[in-house]
């Protein structure tokens, strides 16, 4: 029996080694080259905007040979993504050099709101793109222009907007402030996704939708939805939306909270590894596939290098913490 168990334990150890790949990390001479599988953590479910963003970059790195590393996307959606973010922030050792995390404004805001994890616990690598919001009416809506909305609010009518979570809610709060009305008059229905919000607009159950170009484009072309007002400072540049006025043209303050898409790494990632990955992402932004992705999703190209990304994300966090009264 003893012999058998010794044999079994030996077998176990061999299997562990085989399963683990028996990898030892390469030493660094100033530069960095991945020596094992790279885990790219995505804290959103597969198929959503964050996943498509992650897959696009991963594919571009592979196709163009920017890195030979085998990148594996790991979906850690536990605790609304907080578990994945916490795990990445705490990662140490050689694994930290082989771990990256998709990190958007829609991730930073709930992280700051619901946990004590902060951007200082990560190493920001790159900011890749951003998205702007606008208001849309539907073919069953009562209102067809932003002026009609302003007039209706002045008459004391109640208007219901549908939108998604995260930065959409922040944009709505900024809109309330900009228009000087409260939530009883301009109500907001939070949906799991923008497509759910569009469903209620198309069915005539809400008056307006707070959306972004990628999610609304097809409905605008099919004339089921009508762009009403851009909530940012400048007009959209795409052919489809260039005629849409901005809220500032009506004399109100811009109230868009940009939905930026970025990539961060564990704080413990070495400088050499961080430079390596940041360079990969910079190269991605110069490919035609990336331009196509940006156009297809109606995004605004917004590449920033490491230093600028750190500054941008830190300032964004500071301003968000201030807005929710957690800046102390």
């Amino acid at each position: 029996m003893k012999k058998t168990f010794t044999l079994a334990i030996a077998l176990l150890m061999v299997t562990t080694m085989a399963f683990a790949g028996g990898n030892a990390d390469a030493s660094s001479d100033g530069s960095f080259t991945p020596t094992r599988d790279v885990t790219w953590t995505c804290t959103s479910s597969p198929g959503g905007g964050s996943d498509i963003f992650t897959q696009e970059i991963k594919e571009s790195i592979r196709l163009n040979g920017f890195s030979d590393a085998n990148i594996v996307i790991d979906y850690v959606t536990d605790g609304g993504g907080e578990v994945g973010r916490l795990e990445v922030s705490r990662m140490t050792g050689p694994r930290a050099d082989h771990t990256i995390l998709t990190f958007n404004s829609g991730d930073l805001m709930p992280m700051c709101l619901n946990t004590n994890n902060r951007i200082e616990n990560f190493k920001p690598l790159a900011l890749m793109a951003s998205d702007n919001h606008f208001l849309c009416s539907g073919d069953m809506s009562k209102y067809h222009s932003f002026q009609e909305i302003i007039d209706a609010l002045a008459r004391g009518e109640r208007i219901v907007i549908a939108g998604s979570k995260g930065d959409d809610i922040e944009t709505y709060n900024a809109l309330l402030k900009s228009l000087g009305v409260d939530e009883t008059q301009l109500a907001y229905v939070t949906n799991d996704s923008t497509s759910s919000a569009i469903t209620s607009l198309l069915g005539g159950h809400v008056d307006l939708v707070l959306g972004k170009q990628a999610s609304c484009e097809q409905y605008i072309i099919a004339e089921r939805m009508f762009p009403m007002v851009a909530l940012c400072e400048d007009r959209f540049t795409s052919d489809l939306l260039k005629d849409m006025p901005t809220i500032t043209e009506f004399g109100y303050e811009a109230c868009d909270v940009p939905n930026w898409r970025g990539i961060v790494a564990p704080k413990a990632m070495s400088e050499a590894a961080a430079d390596y990955w940041a360079e990969c992402f910079r190269q991605v932004t110069e490919t035609p596939e990336w331009d196509e992705y940006i156009t297809r999703n109606g995004l605004v190209p917004m590449y920033m290098d490491r230093a600028s990304t750190v500054q941008f994300m830190t300032e964004f966090q500071q301003s968000y913490l201030q807005s929710i009264g957690k800046d102390k």
């Binding site: 299997t15 562990t16 885990t39 050792g93 050689p94 939530e183 009883t184």
Partner: protein
């Protein structure tokens, strides 16, 4: 038969008591932290639905408790509990030596050690489980099963 020791427990009465505790917990936390109704916007708050259900659960638990008073104790046999006990040890092993070695060890311990089956049967069971874990779930579907503390050391995590 192995593990046929049994014990009688008053779970018929315990379940409503646990129901009442859960109901009270959700009710109190709901009222304290999430509120019931926003009188400014005339809309329900995060606590609205759970509070209603928690109140109903408390009432029903009291009713179920009185219904259960006359019910006899329920007999629990030890061998049924080998399943969760064995599973807890399996999970503990996964934390230490990782999924694949734990699976091998667990099947050997259960089939050979506890059920006293032949080595041939044991190995067939091990192979069957490993086929599920390695080629199907890990390699094909890409599920990253835990490698355990030892696996992490080897991988340098």
């Amino acid at each position: 038969m192995k593990g046929n020791k049994s014990v009688k427990l008053p779970t018929q009465q315990l379940i409503p008591v646990v129901g009442l505790i859960i109901g009270l917990l959700f009710l109190l936390k709901g009222i304290k932290d999430y509120g019931f109704w926003n009188s400014t916007t005339h809309t329900p708050t995060a606590g609205f639905f759970p509070i209603i259900i928690a109140v109903a659960l408390c009432l029903l638990s009291v009713l179920a408790f009185f219904q259960s008073i006359k019910k006899e104790k329920v007999e629990y046999t030890l061998r049924n509990w080998y399943v969760p006990f064995g599973f807890v040890l399996f999970i503990a092993a996964i934390y230490i030596i990782g999924t694949v070695p734990s699976t091998i060890l667990f099947i050997i311990a259960w089939v050979k050690g506890y059920e006293k089956m032949s080595w041939k049967t044991t190995i067939i069971c091990v192979i069957f489980c490993l086929i599920i874990v390695i080629p199907i779930f890990t390699m094909w579907l890409g599920i990253p099963f835990p490698v355990g503390k030892i696996g992490e050391l080897i991988l340098g995590y």
